[in-house]
Symmetry: C3
């Protein structure tokens, strides 16, 4: 059963664009940007991943700059954030939750589009989905002058990679359907939020200096 991918993909794109616009806008509000700065950051976060996806797939001009509905969703997200931004202390947590939702929607929307194009190897489709999901956040963070979320200590790219893989494997097994796509998106959100909630992190390199400090401390005793 083939998925009617266009409608599911548009819906996922719209969800991803809107919530990433909120997340980008909140970063802009936190940085005390003006209205247009907030809109630019909202747009970059919302549309950056999809534009990267389309450039990597050669689908130009990217829908992120040519589809009125996506642009309207991004602008709406930016305006909503600007008008009703929460108090500063609530922003950090909310950005994380919105990021998780956008991550799920875009991982699936990105890999769906990639498997629908001819001549895209499975591994490329998985990576395009992942880049779609994390790309907007990277653009947002680089523009805002902060270290990208994807490099920070919580599991971030892994849920997106997982969701993209589910879509691509389902496609290769000819079982890709709208429910499978939405389940994959939900899987991404769940894994990401569990990782945030449990503060799950990937292992870090052995800290040789900390180790030496430990030894020194022991010697000092």
């Amino acid at each position: 059963m083939l998925i009617q991918s266009s409608s599911a993909q548009l819906a996922l794109d719209l969800v991803g664009v809107f919530v990433f616009a909120l997340s980008g806008g909140l970063v802009g509000v936190r940085k005390r940007l003006d209205l247009f700065g907030v809109l630019v950051l909202a747009g970059a976060a919302a549309l950056g991943g999809g534009v990267l996806r389309d450039v990597l797939l050669g689908a130009v001009p990217p829908v992120g700059i040519s589809d009125w509905r996506l642009l309207a969703a991004a602008a709406l997200g930016g305006l909503v954030t600007f008008a009703f931004h929460p108090t500063v202390e609530r922003i950090t947590r909310l950005v994380r939750v919105l990021d998780a939702a956008g991550l799920g929607a875009f991982a699936v929307a990105g890999s769906l589009k990639a498997v629908g194009m001819p001549g895209v190897p499975a591994v490329a489709a998985v990576l395009v989905g992942t880049v779609t999901a994390v790309g907007g956040g990277v653009v947002r963070d680089v523009l805002a002058g902060q270290v990208p979320e994807v490099l920070r200590r919580e599991l971030y790219a892994v849920p997106a990679l997982l969701g993209s893989t589910v879509v691509v494997v389902a496609d290769r097994l000819h079982v890709l359907s709208a429910p499978v796509a939405w389940s994959a998106a939900l899987l991404v959100v769940t894994v990401r939020l569990v990782a945030v909630h449990l503060d799950l992190n990937a292992p870090t390199p052995l800290r040789s200096d900390a180790h030496r400090q430990g030894i020194h401390g022991h010697r000092a005793l």
Copy 2:
């Protein structure tokens, strides 16, 4: 009347490349980069917007890396800056003026190229023009480690958006001509410089903490 867009577009491209190379080079001088660092930053500022435009439109390889005249203009701008850079206190103001000129030339050159290609929706053409105009400055600022001009407090992307819209609307109304294109560029420069001169800014988010501080101050009275 159709515009003989190739000559107007080349002229606008050359103007934009040269002045953005000056602006990029000045940032490099201010950051105390060496000759090649200044040239790289000049080239990134000068050619970044046009390369982004061509990648978004699928016009590869981009003219920014294949047209000798544009590359020569960028190198010339970088060398001129390196050799005759003004004193530090004059740099900030000059960078702003050069930025305005580049913004106008590139907004029009970008939207002109977009409307000249088949299958590009009007909204995409407007955004491609805007990205052409602000893209080089974003690349320059990200490389130089400073918050991009487009996110700072003055109206920056709006004049570019305005100029691109004029070009695209004129094209759709079949009245696009070289005078219209140059007028659109002049409009961008004027609006931008007026905004800088009057220190016009877009509204900023309500500062809830400042508000509370105000209340506290009032209570203290």
Copy 3:
């Protein structure tokens, strides 16, 4: 004599990907990123230049996201770095040496691919080779929040430009062969390492304030 460019190019790509993955991974270790952060930074450094090359040439999807061998080399480089990262004091020097090797491999791999595609002007081929060489490092440094190597005070882009020029000129003279390609790569590495070793730098702008300080100092005598 035409080069069997596919095998030489793949070998150069694999070398460049692996050593740039080590260099990216080391930056990640130095920044105390977790395993996936290190892998992302390794992948960005290793594959960023090749992806930029393929996007500029319109060769999509880029091999950097579709060729298992390149992805495996990048992942291997990241894992090796994570597991066996040297002590902090040795990292800076090693990153420089790995960077030089990657620079040489990618300058040649990039220009080789560009001259093998129809309709790419010579100057574009030289610049595509240079961007392939320096692009991954730029992406790595921008993500890691540090000023890109290419803007810092040592000769960095020049050796890459030199190696790319050798390849493109050899192609235009119909003398491009695998030995020529490897020699060009070796030339890049040698020039880069000599520049690092001798601390060769390009000239810097006259420091008008330092100059004034000098005058003041003289007056004070």
